[in-house]
């Protein structure tokens, strides 16, 4: 059981570090339900981001679940689910 929580700010930081700042609004509290592609992050950016999350948090994210994870909120939930079950 871990007390670590994965937040919008964590995701925003990791997206930015690995894949840069998109044009437009990017990730904010009011875009957590918007598809990643709509806020300027393509599939490669997500692969890079997932890999960075795995390294930083010592996780192995489920590949099948990731395939259907298309919004920031869903990704944050997935990471936190795996953190609490770790």
């Amino acid at each position: 059981m871990s007390n670590t929580r994965f937040t919008v700010d964590d995701l925003k930081r990791i997206l930015s570090e690995g894949s840069g700042e998109p044009e437009g609004v990017g990730l904010r509290e009011d875009t957590v339900d918007t598809e990643f592609t709509e806020i300027g992050y393509d599939s490669l950016a997500l692969l890079e981001t997932n890999s960075r999350i795995e390294r930083e948090y010592g996780l192995r994210l489920d590949e099948e679940l990731l395939e259907t994870t298309t919004t920031p909120r869903a990704l944050i939930r997935l990471v936190n689910d795996q953190l609490t079950s770790a």
């Binding site: 570090e17 690995g18 840069g20 998109p22 044009e23 490669l44 950016a45 890999s51």
Partner: protein, 410 residues
């Protein structure tokens, strides 16, 4: 089939000037961009000087999302392509998508990006390798990224022939225009100034170990002892002349009139090196006699045996002191796949202004019977025809002849 192909836009990134005009002014004034390396500490290495581009801020010109997935050479190339389009007065979004293609030369791909990922791999582990590594380092990256940024869906390509590649790319672009694509972006912009790239360049055996920027790279000089590497190059907008006239292109710098390429015979074969034949093929292709050539931009290896081969090829075709020869790359260093493309841009600027830029810093060795332009620029009006030579390690020889475009403006 034999459509006339002209250059209508220049994008230049050089150690002594970002942008064609800054660079051209520096070359004419003999201002060098060569200095001690600053990108990394060169102290452990026998060669310590380079032509570095300073003052380039990729984030000011490119989207934030592109930065983590591009090597420096790609960032320079994307901005160079933007400049070339702007100079040509072309907005790519307004042209039919299949009417534009890209052919670039590469030599070592995005080598610094690759270095950093190799370091991640071996120092930290395979799961630390970037998702962008699969394309950010490879040789095709600049053509791919330029096509994406500008919506260019026509025929594209990438050639690697060491330092001759810049001319081979332009020749391939001309071929595509003659096959029916009205506009091609071509040339090369290169950068591999990182410790890992430096280690590899050292093994070429061709680097100068001089520590004085003013005397480290001296082709055709009795003191010649290797070259200084640099970063940068040029991208050129090439167009079918009819198309350029129809759209009233703001500049027509000149016509890409002739091209020839050969490869040297095996060492020890006793056969003549291929450079002379490359020059003759370029002249023949252009239908130009040697006497019509106003200036030769030399490859300028700065190794005595290679300088001698070049002098002999030039004098065999043009006669002793038969044509002015220059090598302004003494102010930039040799730019690998960017070298010949930058020389081509320089030749076109020389034609525009009727002036031959000097081979800065060089005192011609007495036994070379060529008319090397040294010291100050030489005015030569009209300067109508220029020949650019390029050689690559391993035996590559290429020559491109550019001449004033004599077609009529509509």
């Amino acid at each position: 089939m034999t459509a006339t192909v002209v250059v209508t836009g220049l994008g230049v990134a050089a150690p002594n000037g970002l942008g064609a005009e800054d660079y051209w002014n520096a070359v004419l004034r003999g201002v060098s961009g060569i200095d001690r390396l600053t990108r990394f500490d060169p102290t452990p290495y026998p060669a310590t000087l380079a032509g570095e581009i300073t003052g380039f801020d990729a984030s000011a010109s490119l989207p934030g999302r592109l930065l983590p997935q591009t090597d420096r050479m790609t960032q320079l190339a994307l901005v160079g392509a933007d400049c070339a389009f702007a100079d040509a007065g072309v907005r790519p979004a307004e042209l039919p998508e299949y009417d534009m293609g890209v052919v670039t030369a590469s030599s070592s791909g995005g080598f610094e990006f690759g270095q950093n990922e190799l370091r991640n791999l071996w120092a930290k582990g395979n799961e630390y390798v970037s998702a962008y590594q699969s394309f950010a380092w490879f040789y095709a990256v600049n053509s791919g990224q330029i096509s994406i940024r500008n919506g260019m869906r026509g025929p594209s390509g990438v050639v690697v022939s060491d330092q001759a590649g810049g001319l081979d790319a332009v020749a391939q672009a001309r071929r595509q225009i003659r096959k029916g694509t009205p506009l091609m972006m071509s040339g090369g912009i290169d950068a591999s100034l990182c410790p890992w790239g430096w280690a590899a360049l050292i093994t070429s055996g061709r680097l100068s170990t001089g520590v004085d920027p003013a005397t480290a790279y001296l082709p055709f000089d009795g003191r010649a002892a290797g070259h200084v590497p640099g970063e940068g190059g040029a991208l050129l907008v090439l167009e079918d002349a009819e198309a350029a006239l129809t759209r009233a292109a703001p500049h027509i710098y000149g016509e890409v009139a002739g091209y020839g390429a050969t490869f040297d015979p095996a060492p020890g074969s006793g056969r003549e090196p291929g450079l002379r034949a490359a020059i003759e093929r370029a002249l023949e292709d252009a239908g130009t006699r040697p006497a019509e050539v106003d200036v030769v931009f030399a490859d300028a290896a700065a190794l005595p045996e290679l300088d001698r081969v070049e002098v002999e090829a030039i004098t065999a075709v043009f006669g002793p002191r038969g044509v002015p020869v220059t090598a302004p790359k003494t102010t930039t260093g040799r730019l690998y796949s960017g070298a010949a493309a930058l020389d081509l841009a320089t030749a076109l600027l020389a034609m525009r202004d009727d002036v031959i830029p000097p081979t800065t810093g060089v005192r011609l060795a007495e036994d070379y019977d060529i008319d090397l332009v040294t010291g100050a620029p030489r005015l030569l009006a009209p300067l109508r025809t220029a020949l650019v030579l390029a050689r690559g390690q391993g035996g590559f020889n290429s020559a491109v002849l550019v001449r004033e475009f004599r077609g009529h403006r509509g």
